[in-house]
Amino acid sequence: MTRGLRSLIWLAVLGAATLPVVIAAFSPYLAYRNPAYIVAGFAGILSLSLFLLQPLLAAGYLPGLRLPLARKLHRIIGAALLACLALHIGGLYLTSPPDTLDALLLVSPTPFSVYGVLATLGLIATILLVALRRRVRYGHWRLLHNALALFVVIATLIHALQIEGTMGPVSKWLLCGAVLIATATTLINERLLKPLRRN
């Protein structure tokens, strides 16, 4: 891989991950919100960006990054996603307890809440699976982790796309598209094409 192409890939990935956050930082709505609500919103946006990096790091697709380091970053970002989830729900609860409880109890009038709860459950299940890493056979563990990751990503995308908030609509759609492509490409390549090629 040429140095130019390598730089281009990094630029595209980091640009796709950071630009939506920067655009949201200029949203006029921020001026109307309390700090807890702002933190909750950005924890959600940041999670969306981190979901773009996760599959690329897990599969070692980012050029110049050795797999052990990429995997280490994947684990750190996994922990960061859990922290973001806590900030997201915690910040929303401080902003409006009844709206947040409605969402968690699945009686919210907003159609996207249920997808947020599904993503939350999927992420918690992922954390439990990570804790059981040594007790589950690696072949099974990998598939379970992949299935949960796909579930969490799709639920998150549906959740994010229906929300009218601080994110710019165009950058949100582009980031969601990038996350879906990165996740799907990694899963198809690692779990379908590579095993087929080996046989």
Binding site: R33, S96, D99, V107, S108, P109, F112, E164
Partner: protein, 158 residues
Amino acid sequence: MHTPYLNRRLFVTATAATLATGLVSPLHAASLRPTKTMRGGSNNYRPNAPFVDKLGDGFIVSGRVVRAGDGAPLPKTRIQIWAATTIGGEREPRNHGSVLTRADGTYRLEMMQIVPNFGQPHAHLAYDDPAFKTVFLRPVMPSARDTSLTVDFVLAPA
């Protein structure tokens, strides 16, 4: 919007139909069903919001309050309104106010621009007094850029 409350267009249609028949027949009267409370309608409700002339500038919440069945306008009926606006969220006291309906059952409150809150631009309205059954509404604005919202109430006797 698939909301169960009556909007102005429906009201105009119903009124026109009534006028066209020349009398208020029981058939038409029966069609005026009470407005149902919406999910999440009472969230961040602060009972007995103070009566105000206005809460701010630029956004108009208005509508008409009538009695279920015969559709008679209900004057001097208290409607409580709150929403997340440019001066703060739904729990901000300055975003809560009450108004009384006029002789023709209409009410109107000017407030600050409503902004999306918890993912949707919406307002909260309540009828919460003894004479009729309590109704909490949470209408969603078709666009966050809208500068007005019309919300009608059809109240059933308590």
